[in-house]
């Protein structure tokens, strides 16, 4: 596999306010994110040569790229829709980068937008998947609850011990999100609150699950060579990895349910491209897929942030807090932004982009001397993972 390290740069990004945007449609959210990105890049719509649109469920399947074309008035350019469950945003972004790397286009857009609050339902309930029999009752919290139960069993944690480890992750992310203006939720929570919350899919309670929300985020991409024509502080693509795994893990023989090959493979490919040997030491900040608290826990281990089976120790020591050695989900993550599916990957990248530019919206959220940041989404049954790594300097 070739490398695109330092070949591609992001020159502008935008991100809508996330939340229950009852009065804003999919098109409004797309406009909100993309016009911030235009302004950030200092260009207009006419400079965009192609657009990769990430959207999953709204308003229905089979909508092609018309959401972007209709709202942004693109004419005569390709708008390519990407749907890869929760990893859609990252994969749209990676496709856009590869399109520029191919030489076919100079300036392209990756746009993620999702309107979950038009569905009438508060969570990602039944109907996750393709099969009308095997997956008739599969839900998102249910699939991740299976992971949590197995993790507890494998590592000898009682339900109380396991739930407390997970609770600390939720508490950390809410603490981060309380400072992030664009987040959906700003409430600071306690471990006790998390443990006493209603159960959604045992052992996952309300605060172990991310919310449903509306949002959009957008990136404008060009070659690293041209990047400084647009701004003095472009952010460079250092590496990426995508992995889609076969056979619904529920039926997959010998599957551990505490580690996912797609997480391991996608992160290792990205590390390899970026030249990262020890991610725990070398990464300065990471946005990972905390759709559920357990997801963030297993990602720590599959991404080599923590030794296998011992992520709980890092959670307890505060290693991943805003003040810790490797801040994770510093904007509050999916826990506080909610998970408008197609938008999330680009929203996470927006946070890494701003942190690497030292331009976090509030100074108290800005980490010190950032060089390398990772953003990541993980989705499906779960079977698909996409990782991107960015840096603020070449080399």
């Amino acid at each position: 596999m070739g490398s695109l390290k330092d070949e591609i740069a992001i020159i502008g990004m935008g991100c809508s306010k996330f939340g229950e945007r009852w009065d804003q449609g999919t098109e409004d959210l797309a406009i909100e994110a993309s016009y911030e990105a235009y302004e950030d890049a200092g260009i207009g719509k006419d400079s965009i040569e192609a657009c990769w649109l990430s959207t999953v469920i709204a308003p229905l399947t089979g909508v092609s790229g018309t959401i972007a074309a209709d709202s942004l008035k693109f004419k005569d350019i390709p708008v390519i829709r990407n749907e890869n469950w929760c990893a859609s945003g990252h994969i749209a972004l990676i496709e856009a980068c590869m399109a520029v790397a191919s030489g076919a286009y100079d300036i392209v857009m990756a746009l993620g937008v999702e309107k979950l609050k038009d569905t009438g339902y508060p969570g990602l309930g039944t109907g996750r998947g393709m099969h009308p029999v095997y997956e008739a009752r599969r839900t998102s919290p249910g699939s991740f609850g299976l992971i949590a139960q197995r993790y507890f069993k494998t590592y000898g944690l009682s339900d109380d011990q396991g739930k407390e480890v997970l609770a600390k992750i939720a508490v950390k992310n809410h603490d981060n999100g309380s400072l992030c203006p664009k987040a959906h939720f700003h409430n600071v929570i306690t471990v006790e609150q998390v443990l006493n919350a209603p159960i959604i899919a045992w052992p996952l309670g309300l605060f172990d699950c991310c919310g449903n929300s509306d949002g959009a985020a957008c990136a404008i991409i060009t070659s690293a060579k041209r990047a400084k024509d647009f701004r003095p502080d472009p952010i460079y693509l250092k590496g990426f990895g995508i992995s889609t795994d076969s056979l619904l893990p529920h039926f997959r023989p010998q599957f551990s349910w505490t580690s996912f090959d797609s997480l391991v493979q996608s992160s290792h490919k990205a590390y390899e491209m970026a030249g990262i040997k020890n991610p725990r030491e070398e990464l300065d900040v990471a946005e990972v897929h905390d759709c559920f608290s357990i997801t963030e826990l297993i990602i720590y281990e599959d991404f080599d942030f923590s030794p296998r089976g011992r992520a709980g120790e890092d959670v307890a020591s505060g290693f991943f807090t805003r003040q810790g050695k490797l801040p994770v989900n510093i904007d509050g993550g999916l826990k506080c932004f909610g998970h408008p599916i197609g938008a999330s990957g680009l929203r996470m990248t927006y946070e890494i982009y701003k942190q690497l530019q030292n331009k976090a919206d509030l100074p108290e959220r800005q980490i010190k001397v950032p060089r390398l940041g990772l953003s990541h989404t993980f989705g499906g049954p779960p079977q698909i993972s996409a990782v991107t790594i960015f840096g603020n300097e070449k080399g």
């Binding site: 309930g125 008739a136 159960i199």
Partner: protein, 486 residues
């Protein structure tokens, strides 16, 4: 000689104390408890349960089956064969005769009689006669308390019979005593005394005395008198009138603990009587509805052969009590509670048809190259990537343990608020199987808990019922649980 070579019953694990019905309507309880099928059960799934129980440990005898006769007044479809779905779930070969018997609770003995005749005349070697019912009485009616849900299956054969079929006597009698019009949900009845005397006692007496006379027998020659009855008092009166000895001869009519299981009831009582018989016993079976059927059996030495089947007594002892009348109404489809999210993976008749060997038959694929067994059937081996190089292997009889689970409130709908999503490891191959768990308390589920598979109705969508397998805790011994809470 033609007779019964295997037999087995099935009674749902859920029971309701009849005082629940009495209290809610401020009426008198008739005493005891009744069986209530789970919200994922119907006459087809109960028939599959009884049939699979019958073949337990004797899988190879399925190969020699030539017919399935299914009797019920509560078949889930008015038009669409039930016996074909039962035969598929029991994993029978396709080149057999499948017939549904409907519209009368006498269909159980009717199907059995026709099975004896078919095997007797040599047109078929082995026939499975199976009955199941889950009738609904009006709220506040006596029937609401009296009825139970259940199924029973008997294998009719000329070989290795545990009881020989010695003869029968039947008559019909046209009258409107108990009925459901084609669009009725609830069972209608005429005046009780009319049914008791003119309908039940007179018709049963006519058939039983007719049979005894035809075969030159007297009540004292009968070891076990198996008389179905919709009411314990009527049963008592019939026994007294005919001169049988209640304690010494008469088989428990299963009304106190189970309830009156419609079409299945005569077969269920016969199974119970056979399970308690000794070689040389003479059994007299009689069932009533629009006339009566009476049959006589004689047990052989085979009656003592090893029984793999779960016996009626075990079913009676193993129960989970449902204390909520609201839950009963919801399970019976009589009230609709708050709906959950709509199903987004739409039912497809073509998908179910195309993949029926996995979905309904419960087949996985065993790779001929590396031996890996996977469910559902995989054309390309997950382990060694061999293409189209597998044999189909049934996994539905495999037992296993819970590998992981979750108690999912979001997946819950009007039927059950908590869906227990389960991944089990089945058999020595540790086949991974993902499904819902049923017939249990959410609080009792643990990683490592032993489970078996059961065929259930998973949901209704696209105007049809959808069936699949679920996990169920393996229960042994007497189950003495408290109240079921969702």
């Amino acid at each position: 000689m033609v007779g019964i070579s295997l037999c087995a019953g099935y009674i749902p694990v859920f029971r309701m104390d009849r005082s629940v019905f009495a209290n809610i309507w401020e009426r008198k309880s008739i005493g005891g408890e009744r069986s209530v099928c789970n919200n994922d059960e119907d006459s087809i799934t109960m028939a599959v349960e009884a049939s699979r129980n019958l073949f337990k440990g004797r899988g190879s005898s399925r190969e020699e089956l030539d017919g399935v006769f299914f009797a019920s007044t509560t078949a889930p479809y008015k038009e669409k064969l039930s016996s074909s779905l039962i035969a598929t779930a029991v994993d029978l070969r396709r080149q057999i005769t499948t017939i549904d018997f409907a519209h009368s609770i006498r269909g159980g003995t009717g199907a059995l009689k026709l099975a004896f005749d078919s095997v007797g005349c040599g047109s078929m070697r082995n026939v499975l006669a199976v009955g199941a019912d889950c009738r609904i009485g009006y709220p506040r009616s006596d029937e609401e308390q009296i009825f139970g849900d259940g199924a029973a299956a008997l294998l009719v054969s000329k070989e290795n019979v545990l009881a020989t079929f010695e003869g029968s006597y039947s008559h019909y009698h046209e009258m409107m005593d108990i009925w459901r019009k084609s669009d009725d949900i609830f069972v209608n009845t005429w005046e009780g005394r009319f049914i008791q005397n003119e309908a039940y006692v007179n018709n049963m007496t006519e058939a039983i005395t007719g049979l005894l006379k035809k075969y030159k027998l007297e009540p004292k020659n009968i070891s076990k008198a198996v008389f179905t009855a919709p009411d314990i008092k009527w049963h008592k009166r019939l026994v007294q009138q005919l001169g049988f000895d209640m304690k010494g001869q008469v088989v428990n009519p299963l009304l106190h603990n189970i309830g009156y299981c419609g079409t299945a009831h005569s077969l269920l009582m016969l199974v119970q009587a056979l399970e308690e018989s000794n070689p040389g016993d003479i059994l007299l079976l009689a069932s009533y509805a629009d006339g009566a059927d009476a049959m006589i059996f004689k047990t052989t030495r085979e009656i003592n052969k090893d029984q793999n089947q779960r016996r009626i007594k075990e079913y009676i002892d193993q129960k989970l009590m449902v204390s909520s009348y609201a839950r009963f109404l919801s399970y019976k489809g009589l009230i609709e509670t708050v709906p959950g999210e709509p199903y987004r993976t739409f039912s497809s008749a073509t998908v179910t048809w195309r993949e029926q060997n996995s979905i309904i038959r419960g087949h996985g694929s065993k790779c001929r190259n590396c031996g890996m067994l996977t469910y559902p059937i995989q054309r390309i081996c997950y382990n060694c990537n061999s293409k189209d190089n597998f044999e189909e292997v049934s996994i539905s009889d495999m037992e296993g343990v819970v590998f992981t689970y979750t108690l999912d409130n979001l997946a819950g709908r009007s039927d059950d608020p908590v869906v227990i999503q389960t991944i089990a490891e089945l058999g020595i191959d540790k086949v991974r199987f993902y499904s819902m768990m049923t017939d249990c308390f959410p609080s009792e589920v643990k990683v490592g808990m032993p489970v078996e598979l059961t065929f259930r109705r998973i949901y209704d969508n696209a105007g049809m019922h959808n069936y699949f397998w679920k996990c169920r805790p393996i229960r042994e011994g007497r189950l003495n649980h408290g109240q079921f809470k969702g």
